[in-house]
């Protein structure tokens, strides 16, 4: 993943963009943060955030013209937050003002002409950058036109308090010192420019000709000022404030903003760097932060009981609570995986990139990369359509290619896939009595593992209804390899499937698994593929006596792999309707559906996150659920949800208590697949199949079976350990427990088993495994 691609992808995530209030504020006060502090009663923090961007907080807290309110999201619901009133209470209640830092002085001198808000802001900001500042003010006081504001609105002690800051910095202030041709001028503007390295002109609404500036003016007589840099026609002279805004458009916030913009320009000018590079986000702008306001109810603005005093603490807290704390996080709200890591995709994308880039050190993001279900919900809900699954899957592929994928992440799922694509399960046949197939049934490894009893019933039904022969293909579609980032293994798996399918004459594939359907559709372009549900919706259902089930209300869970399969989802609903059931739509359904915790091999990599995903989903409705994917059904059932697989409802009898069917463990799943193959060969093709005989008979109590499943240890692994120990004598005896302990490493994993002989077999007491090798 190169930097350019990373930037392109992370730019889709808008979460880092400021809320509308901050973007609308010409000096970008962190209003959201300030209001959050007020909610907590932390006025010092609120003041700190306000003062960080506003050099004269006492004054501005009384006279700000609130450009922030035009960007407030509440404008779309009721009234914007009363931000200035909240700033005022921060300024009034603050007990500990932030400390000032005096930087080392530089040699360059800057003249500030005019001590209004823009000039004083420029003077203060440039001082903070270490420049030597000399202020020339024509009157006998600082502040310019703010003195025209009535004292009832702007108490004079606030002006004095804010301007006292100049006593703490080495700023030279020349009062009653006019520049230009005005009466009493001590210096021409041209002389001033000669004596200083840069000049900021903030003289307010003045008749320009009287100043004899020698700067370019437009046809209306206004000074020509670059709107981005505030540069004038003379190289070292910058101008802003009311001289730029005009007397009719005075704005305290914009004047302060001009002072800050001019500071950046003067600093760049004096450092000899570009005045114009990367200056897009200065002053007011419109944010691209998306905030979902669906369901937000109108709330009237809080009015102060005593308007002259402003909000009291209670009123301020009430008004602060009206703030929506704008943020996007649409994907984080929808996805437990994204919420688990306490960030958002822009941050995650950067972590993934860093994880891939480091050569030495700990790869902190490995587990995060491998935990994503790749379900695509984030892309669907993201205003910029950023897909974290795409990033994670690509990262997995790169980790595999570089040999940096931890073997523990996907090894068990890949071994399970290997089993399903071994001779124990794979079968490719035409229908008995046919030499060609019009269609071929591909039930999937997971349906065979979860509901082995229905495979033959579906196959027989298809054979009855479809003319021209229905073949059968047993195997795994390769999804685990695809999700694990094992590109070579996946390609090899798909090629083998394609070869087997072509050997049957390339018939139309009918599958009972949404993952197989999705994998074939995306990666085998020549293959015509359909799920049984769209087919059954067309050709009708097998309404046999035993398929009857009392009509009930069922909530449908659409599998994430069917997110964009509208027709399939509709067919499933049609079938449930034909079966007489009432359908409840879950809040997340169809193209907005969630994963069940299996996608992307999440459940193997990160059980904690998978269980969060499952539990969030199963709590969306009290109703029994119905799914059309074996793994969705099993994952929900494993956490205690009553859930049906649609295939069981059509082909089984509800006397079997289908919604509470036990979920088979990993060993049982493999056993079920193998039995599906042998029973089909015997019962459909009439072949004699010999069962493989196990040398070792084991008795495993249910509690130990659960431990083995949690540790992904198969019965077969345990048998191998005991067989090895008993044939070689390499075992330990625990004299206290009177049990044997033995280990065996068939391939990469070392398995340990604690067991004791019983009759003609062995009782298993415990099993564990590790990948660490004992070298000496």
């Amino acid at each position: 993943m190169d930097q350019q691609l990373l930037r392109k992808r992370e730019a889709k995530c808008v979460q880092d963009n400021p809320p509308g209030c901050t973007a609308g504020c010409p000096v970008h006060v962190d209003v959201r943060g300030m209001i959050d502090a007020i909610r907590k009663g932390d006025y010092d923090k609120g003041y700190e955030l306000f003062h960080k961007m506003v050099p004269f907080p006492g004054i501005i807290s009384r006279i700000c013209d609130q450009h922030c309110r035009t960007g407030c999201k509440r404008n779309e619901i009721d009234e914007p937050i009363s931000i200035n009133a909240l700033e005022k209470i921060c300024a009034d209640k603050c007990q500990n003002a932030p400390k000032l830092v005096r930087p080392p002085l530089k040699n360059q001198k800057v003249a500030v002409v005019g001590a209004g808000l823009s000039g004083l802001t420029a003077a203060l900001e440039l001082t903070r950058k270490g420049y030597r500042i000399v202020i020339f003010e024509a009157t006998g006081r600082l502040g310019g036109s703010i003195w025209n504001i009535p004292e009832s609105r702007l108490p004079r002690e606030l002006i004095h308090k804010d301007f006292a800051i100049f006593e703490k910095f080495p700023v030279e202030i020349n009062y009653n010192t006019a520049i230009g041709n005005r009466g009493g001028s001590i210096m021409s503007f041209a002389s001033l420019c000669e004596n200083f390295d840069a000049v900021f002109l903030g003289v307010g609404c003045k008749e320009l000709n009287s100043l004899d500036l020698g700067l370019e003016q437009d046809a209306s007589g206004n000074l020509v000022i670059d709107p981005v840099t505030l540069a004038t026609s003379q190289t070292k002279v910058f101008a802003g404030g009311s001289i730029r805004l005009g007397c009719e458009n005075r704005s305290p916030a914009l004047s302060i903003s001009d002072g800050k913009i001019a500071t950046i320009s003067i600093d760049r000018f004096l450092q000899g760097v570009s005045l114009t590079a990367n200056r897009g986000k200065e002053g007011s702008y419109k944010t691209s932060l998306y905030t979902n306001i669906a369901g937000v109810k109108p709330q009237p603005i809080v009015t102060a009981a005593e308007p002259a005093s402003g909000y009291n603490e209670e009123e301020a807290a009430q008004e602060a609570n009206r703030c929506l704390s704008c943020e996007c996080k649409e994907c984080v709200k929808a996805c437990e995986y994204l919420a688990h890591y306490r960030g958002y995709p822009k941050k995650y994308a950067r972590e993934v990139y860093n994880n891939l880039s480091i050569v030495m050190g700990i790869h902190h993001a490995n587990k995060m990369i491998n935990s994503c279900s790749l379900c695509g919900l984030c892309e669907h809900v993201c205003p910029g359509n950023l897909n974290m699954g795409e990033i994670c899957q690509e990262a997995r592929q790169m980790m595999v290619a570089k040999g940096k994928m931890p073997p523990s992440a996907h090894e068990f799922a890949l071994r399970d896939m290997q089993f399903s694509n071994s001779d124990r399960f794979v079968l490719n046949r035409h229908q008995p009595g046919f030499t060609a197939s019009k269609m071929v049934f591909y039930p999937s490894c997971q349906l065979a593992a979860s509901s082995p009893h229905v495979i033959k019933k579906i196959y027989n039904f298809l054979c009855e209804r479809i003319d021209g022969g229905v073949g059968l293909m047993l195997g795994c579609c390769g999804a685990p390899a695809n999700w694990a980032g094992q590109e070579d293994l996946y390609k090899e798996t798909v090629q083998k499937i394609e070869q087997d399918w072509r050997s049957l004459g390339s018939p139309r594939v009918i599958t009972a698994c949404p993952s197989c359907f999705s994998m074939f559709k995306r990666n085998l372009p020549d293959m015509s593929v359909e799920m049984i549900w769209t087919l059954f919706d067309r050709i009708g259902l097998p309404f046999s006596e035993e398929s009857g089930m009392e009509p009930k209300k069922l909530a449908i869970h659409d599998s994430c792999t069917t997110r964009h399969e509208d027709q399939l989802q509709t067919s499933v609903r049609n079938i449930l309707g034909k079966l007489g059931h009432n359908i409840e739509e879950l809040p997340h359904n169809r193209d907005n559906t969630t994963c069940c915790g299996y996608g992307g091999l999440m459940i193997y990599v990160n059980k904690e996150v998978a269980h969060k995903v499952i539990n969030k989903r199963i709590k969306e409705s009290e109703a029994d659920y119905v799914t059309y994917c074996a793994m969705c059904r099993d994952n929900f059932a494993s956490q205690g949800k009553r859930v049906y697989h649609l295939v069981d409802m059509v082909f089984s009898n509800d006397q079997d208590n289908l919604a509470e069917q036990e979920v088979p463990g990993y060993s049982q799943r493999q056993e079920n697949r193998a039995r599906v193959k042998t029973s089909l060969l015997r019962e459909v093709w009439g072949e004699t199949v010999e069962e493989p005989q196990s040398d070792v008979k084991v008795i495993i109590p249910p509690s130990v079976r659960q431990v083995m499943d949690d540790r992904t240890i198969l019965v077969d692994d345990v048998k191998k350990v005991i067989a090895h120990a008993e044939s070689t004598g390499n075992k330990l005896k625990d004299l206290e427990k009177d049990q044997f302990i033995a280990y065996y490493q068939p391939v990469a994993v070392t398995y340990w088993v604690e067991y004791s002989p019983q009759d003609d077999g062995f009782v298993v007491h415990n099993a564990y495994s590790h990948r660490i090798k004992i070298t000496e």
Binding site: P406, G729, D734, I772, K773, T775
Partner: protein, 41 residues
């Protein structure tokens, strides 16, 4: 494994040679890194 090592004594006997396991230095290897540890052997 660490639990085993943390115990003062273990009552494990090698079935083949009838000798009690005692603490000893062994080398473990994982993903190309080696870890010398003391375990019963």
């Amino acid at each position: 494994m660490s639990n085993h090592a943390g115990q003062q004594t273990v009552n494990l006997v090698c079935v083949k040679c009838g000798i009690n396991l005692t603490l000893g230095k062994i080398a473990l290897e994982y993903l190309g890194s080696n870890f010398p540890v003391e375990l019963y052997k």
